[in-house]
Amino acid sequence: MKISKDRCPEKGDSDIDLEVIVNDLDHMGQLCRSAIVPPQHEARVVRALRERAAERSWQDTSRWLPRHLFARHRPLALAAAVVVSLVAIVGGAYATVSTLSRVSKMSGADNILTQNLGTHVNRSHTMAGYTVTVKRVYVDSNRVLIAYTIHPPATRKRQWNLAADNLKVTTASGVALPNRGYVNASEIGQPDATLQWFDAASVTGDPKELHLRLTVPWIDGMEHLPAPPTSQPSATGGPHGLPTSGLYGSIATDPANRPNGVQDPYMHDFRVFGPLSFDITVPFEGGREVDVHQQVRAGGTTLTLERVVISPTETRAYVSGFNSKQSHSVEGNLSGDGWTDEDIDGGSTGVWYSNGMTVFSYLGSFMNKHGAWTLTVKSTFTANETPNPVSGGPWTFHFTVP
């Protein structure tokens, strides 16, 4: 690695004492740079990165769930979707775990299976040979979870990442619930499974049950091509080249064929047009809401933690005071006595802006966390008049969850 020669900010300074100090610092730097990551740790880190890379499949960057970012040009709640394509990671331990179990765990909702929450639906519709089966639906104060599988027709082609990309959920009163994310698992020998979740914050009145309509406009998937593509592959994948409308049962393919590594050297995206609909009634699990209304001021900005909503599969903190017109990233860390939001197995966090609130979301169950909680919010923003990002906060809120 080349080392910069610029060691003294005050160039040209021939002060002997300064030279001694700088030489000492250079010497220290050389000494520290002789260290290497111990081999046993290096192997572990590489394996972890390989597994994480294997879990993620980037077909469309707009599907990424931005963990801490919302941009100026997207002030509304982000229709964030995480596509996590689970392919083979390590050996036999995963062979007996169903794709449905995996997507539940990956979305911090393992407990809907382990505690048998929600409604077993097991209803199927088939179009163009593709069978969509809604396996389970679950609703609490924060989110609606839809678990479904897709079974392709028996063909010689290998297909994967089958998902109802544009699944919509509406209530009996016609309110469309915002899409908040999904995880998808694909494994040879099992139907592709997807767990998708929608925002349930608009559901009010603590009903006993909800009547929902699930609409599948189309199914998207990827397909292995046995022969080299006739067109040049796109270096970066490019935007989706699939149409957004088509006759029921018709199948469109994306002409932008892409190389996909050793296993599937050639592949393309395809889309099977529906629509399909499912009408489902599911009990409302509810949750707990803690009104906080605490103000904290830091760096000239006052934020108010308005409330925290804790449900069996997600916890949300609603904070007011950020200026949505500024482009910045925010981070909120949740913790309590002996735990942090990072402790939740399979959990993940997200943040979005909605109706004047910055919403910090933590997937997973915090239902058994009582007592003193702490929310620490930090931000980095670029105000219009300054070229460099500025750190804001932290704003630390202490409150009690009964």
């Binding site: 000494l31 740790h41 990165l49 694909s186 996909n260």
Partner: protein, 194 residues
């Protein structure tokens, strides 16, 4: 079970594609992230080693930092600064959170014992080496964490002042000025010690 193509690590860090090209390739080619890892692994590790009490902790944080970088790679925007500054921002947070969780204070040992070489150098060189380290140890003991970090980022990790500024949330000019003042202060202290 579907196999995953592995990550190639034998990347020439000095002559390979630039960071922007690798980052752009990551969504379709996970091996591109392997190249970024190989490029910055050592520098991040050196930094983390000065912020932790053991190689185990430093390696744990190294994994955490790069996993977070991989998870958040789509959030990196080139217009906000170079990738290395973004990456070290993650490393700083990780180290700070680690220290807050694990221990009330973690001493900054810029040259941890394990890194001090057992050298076959001649006695005179070894003496000069030890003298140099002793000078630095005395000096660093008197510095606060921000100043020590500035020295680490500059003299160990070899970030430019612009990159340091972006990493710690200052302007380049402010980082440069702070270093200038710090070196003058160290110089004065060195004179007093003589």
């Amino acid at each position: 079970m579907r196999e995953v193509h592995g990550m190639a690590l034998s990347i020439d860090r000095d002559h390979g594609p630039d960071d922007a090209a690798l980052i752009q390739a990551v969504p379709v080619d996970p091996a591109a992230f392997a190249a970024l890892y190989a490029r910055y692994r050592d520098r991040v590790y050196w930094y983390l080693r000065t912020r932790t009490a053991s190689t185990d902790d430093a390696a744990d944080l190294l994994q955490q930092v790069f996993l977070q970088a991989l998870d958040r790679i789509d959030q990196y925007k080139p217009k906000q600064g170079p990738f290395v500054a973004w990456l070290f921002g993650i490393a700083r947070h990780a180290a700070s959170n680690h220290n807050r969780r694990r221990r009330p204070t973690v001493p900054w040992d810029l040259v941890p014992e394990v890194l001090r070489p057992i050298s076959d150098d001649d006695p005179e060189s070894q003496a000069l080496h030890n003298e140099s380290l002793a000078r630095l140890s005395d000096v660093f003991a008197s510095l606060d964490a921000d100043k020590r970090e500035l020295l680490v980022l500059r003299y160990i990790v070899d970030l430019s002042f612009a990159e340091i500024g972006l990493t710690v949330g200052k302007s380049e000019a402010a980082a440069r000025q702070q270093m200038s003042r710090l070196l003058r202060s160290l110089k004065e202290q060195h004179r007093e010690d003589l």
